[in-house]
């Protein structure tokens, strides 16, 4: 009797183990040669309020590539309809990128984000990218010359994400979701500009919740990388001062006063002067310090302008609102914070420490 109960309890434990892990005994047929794992979805606005979704098939193997495009009412509808027009079953388990058109992003991407989030097959390590221009045209043009373009694009995003290269604002679904559902929902995404022949990084898109509000580019985007994203830049060309700084690491100290009326940001920067083509003789210490002061002043001005732009856009992608959070207290509402943020006085102070090009004479 004891043995019977022992065996019964062991069987019960085994069954529970499977149930608790959510394991499904009815497995799908995923035989690798019969399926076509989708690497990316490109989502655009279609006709009559529809979505236009595209992907490249087969994604990884060396067969003739085809760009599949469909106009659908629902995002998931695409997966089903693609199966009817392609001989391999499309599977979502390897989706690594979702490219969203800028126009669509301005209308809001919450439905797409939520659809991706609830899909158990899709990993949250999925890069979200905003595209300005027609990505489908670009793909169609490049299929013959660069058949593995989708894979190389994924590798590029992975490269810049993994080692914090400080070149691009790379975001994955998990990071986007975390900011989107935080008390101050102002996520960011990278923006790529595309035409039929070229594909290039443009800057960082700023969101108010799920709607794209504006894009910061060039020098503003570089400063954004220093302030928030990577705190590192490999190069920072400043054409106005005829200087290129290199290997720049930043240490940002933010301070919000008690009345939420003044924000003080002190940014300590270390780096080297990589290139100088100006009039100063920076081998001399005094002139070198003068250049350093010019750089400090320039960066302070640029950063202040960038933050003012954010205030105008009514967005807070640098998450200054988090400075208002304290333990055991309810977070401030988004609207209230925005009221403070729009009227906030901003003091930016740069402290630049540079290694010169060569030995400096006193």
């Amino acid at each position: 009797m004891w043995l019977f109960f022992k065996r019964l309890s062991l069987l019960g434990m085994l069954c529970n183990m499977f149930l608790m892990t959510g394991c499904d005994p009815f497995v799908e047929n995923n035989t690798i040669e019969e399926i076509s794992p989708v690497i990316f979805w490109s989502i655009n606005t279609g006709e009559e309020g529809k979505l236009k979704i595209s992907t490249l098939v087969p994604p990884v193997i060396k067969e003739t590539k085809r760009l599949l495009s469909l106009q659908v009412d629902l995002f998931k509808q695409g997966g089903e309809k693609f199966n009817l027009i392609y001989y391999r079953e499309l599977k979502r388990g390897q989706t690594r990128m979702v490219l969203i058109n800028e126009e669509l992003a301005r209308k809001g991407v919450i439905s797409i984000i939520n659809t991706l989030l609830v899909d158990p097959e899709i990993s949250q390590r999925l890069y979200l990218v905003i595209v300005r221009g027609n990505f489908d045209d670009y793909m169609q043009n490049q299929i013959k010359t660069q058949p593995d373009l989708d894979y190389f694009f994924y590798r590029m995003l992975k490269h810049y994400e993994k080692y914090n290269q400080g070149e691009m604002s790379i975001m994955n679904l998990h990071q986007f979701k975390s900011t989107l559902y935080s008390p101050f929902p102002y996520p960011i995404l990278p923006v790529f500009k595309v035409n039929s022949d070229n594909f290039s990084y443009l800057g960082t898109a700023m969101f108010d919740q799920d709607k794209l509000i504006g894009t910061i580019k060039q020098m503003d985007d570089q400063i954004f990388q220093l302030l928030n994203n990577d705190h590192y830049l490999k190069f920072l060309p400043i054409p106005k001062l005829a200087t290129t700084l290199g290997y720049i690491h930043s240490d940002v100290h933010k301070k919000l006063d008690r009345t939420y009326s003044t924000l003080s940001i002190q940014i300590d920067i270390t780096g080297i002067v990589e290139e100088y083509r100006g009039d100063k003789n920076i081998i001399e210490q005094e002139q070198f310090y003068q250049l350093r002061d010019d750089i400090e002043h320039y960066l302070e001005q640029q950063t202040t302008d960038l933050l003012k732009k954010m205030q105008q856009y009514k967005v807070d992608p640098l998450q200054f609102g988090n400075l208002t959070l304290s333990p055991f207290a309810r977070p401030m509402s988004k609207g209230k914070w925005m009221d403070y943020w729009q009227n906030m006085e901003i003091n930016v102070d740069y402290n630049v420490r540079l290694a010169p090009l060569s030995n400096v004479q006193k």
Partner: protein, 514 residues
Amino acid sequence: MFWNKSKEDKGSDRGQNQSQQNQQNQQSQQNQQKDQTQTKTATPLTLENLKQKLAKMDDAEIIEREPNADLKVTFIYIRTLVNQERLNESVIEPLNHWTHNSVFDTLSIAKIKSISTLEEALEQLLSGSVIIYDVFYEQWWTVHLDIALSRSIESSETETILYGPKDSFSEQIDQNITLIRRRLPITELKTESFNVGSMSKTTIVLMYIEGLTNPEIISIARDKLSSIDFDLFLESSNVAAFMEEHPHSIFPQFQQTDRPDVCVYSLGLGKLTLLVNNTPFALIAPITFFHHFQSPEDYIHRWIIASFLRTLRFISYFVSITLIPMYVALTTHHYQMMPMQILFVVMESRLNLPFTPFWEAFLILATLEIIKEASLRMPTKSGQTLGVIGGIVIGQAAVQAEFASKVLIVLAGIATIASFLVPNYLMTKSHAIIQFVFLVLSSFLGVLGIVIGMIAFLAHLSAITSLKQPYFAPLAPFHGRDWIDLFIRGHLPWMKTRPVYLHPLKKWRTSRRR
């Protein structure tokens, strides 16, 4: 005492101590009764009876001699079992000068004894003795003069090591005992002799160190040996088959070795050694699962290197049983789990294959097993041919013919080589079965199938015993102290205690503490 035919009690381990003692008492009583019955039913030894028994045995010699007119002696022996030179020197020559003394006084030889029954005479005769019948005094004598047929002491072929002792056991049990006794010159090293096999009359010597090895374990081994009832024992694994508590398990519960240093090390830890006549392989028990991953060389290398090598063996064993099933699981069910770069390669290599991943893996593994088995059975000179055929047919032609993917060939190669890292050959053979079981499970349930397989594998290991001691110790039951010689091989001076699962009478290996 091979005529003891009482069957081994297959009761549960629970409360085994008491039941064992009772059983032992009962058994010894039964043995005594049977001994008495044996004596009562003994056939009287006469020349006629003996001649009748030896009829139609061409190599049986019956020679009658009359050194003097009133003295007559008969020699009976099996020519093929007796050393003829020693017979002439030690028996025939002295008896030529025989006076009226008894044979015992005339023959100044150590191995002479008196016998009185036909059964005794036959047993002696077949073990290489000469029976001498003194007609005058009507006395029967036996002189042991067997031919010491033995190969020289060679190095082990099954457990080769680069450094360390090179000698290994031979088929001569006395020679094997000598090799052990030379390494353990202590009187506490006891040897108990048993005879098994109603036809083979195989001698088994049970060796242990008195005052160190747990008497309960000795008693279990003794009982198991006494209860063996079979006709032929040609190898020590035959004996192990009768002594194992879980004969249907694929894991050997006795360690087989032909290395005397391994036997001595085991004896010193508190284990038993069984030497079986006519085989170079001794049995060591009780052992655990982890003993199969230990090599004598572990105790020769620097401890960090030895630990690295031992850990490598465990990892290799794990890899060898899970690598191919994992490939099948990933390519059949979990394409999501593969990094994209690997997915590239796998999809590309499987594109035009006619088989599903399961059948592809099954066929390749079956072929590899065939090649492995063939390489053992083929003459050494044909080995090269086999290597070429195996390499070209499996490695190249199968891929070119698109019968198997390149990835699988690489993985199968890694898994096969990894399986050979386990020093114990019998254990190496078990991996193939586990691999096939995991393969089937993974094809149906994917990684979940492998997990179920692993649970069953670990549960089975936890359930089996070796001489009624836990087979999965010191992991289950947990003995933290023994972990110093488990996945790593600790520094020798740190290994001051003997394994807990053996319950040795002397815990400490150092002489200062007892």
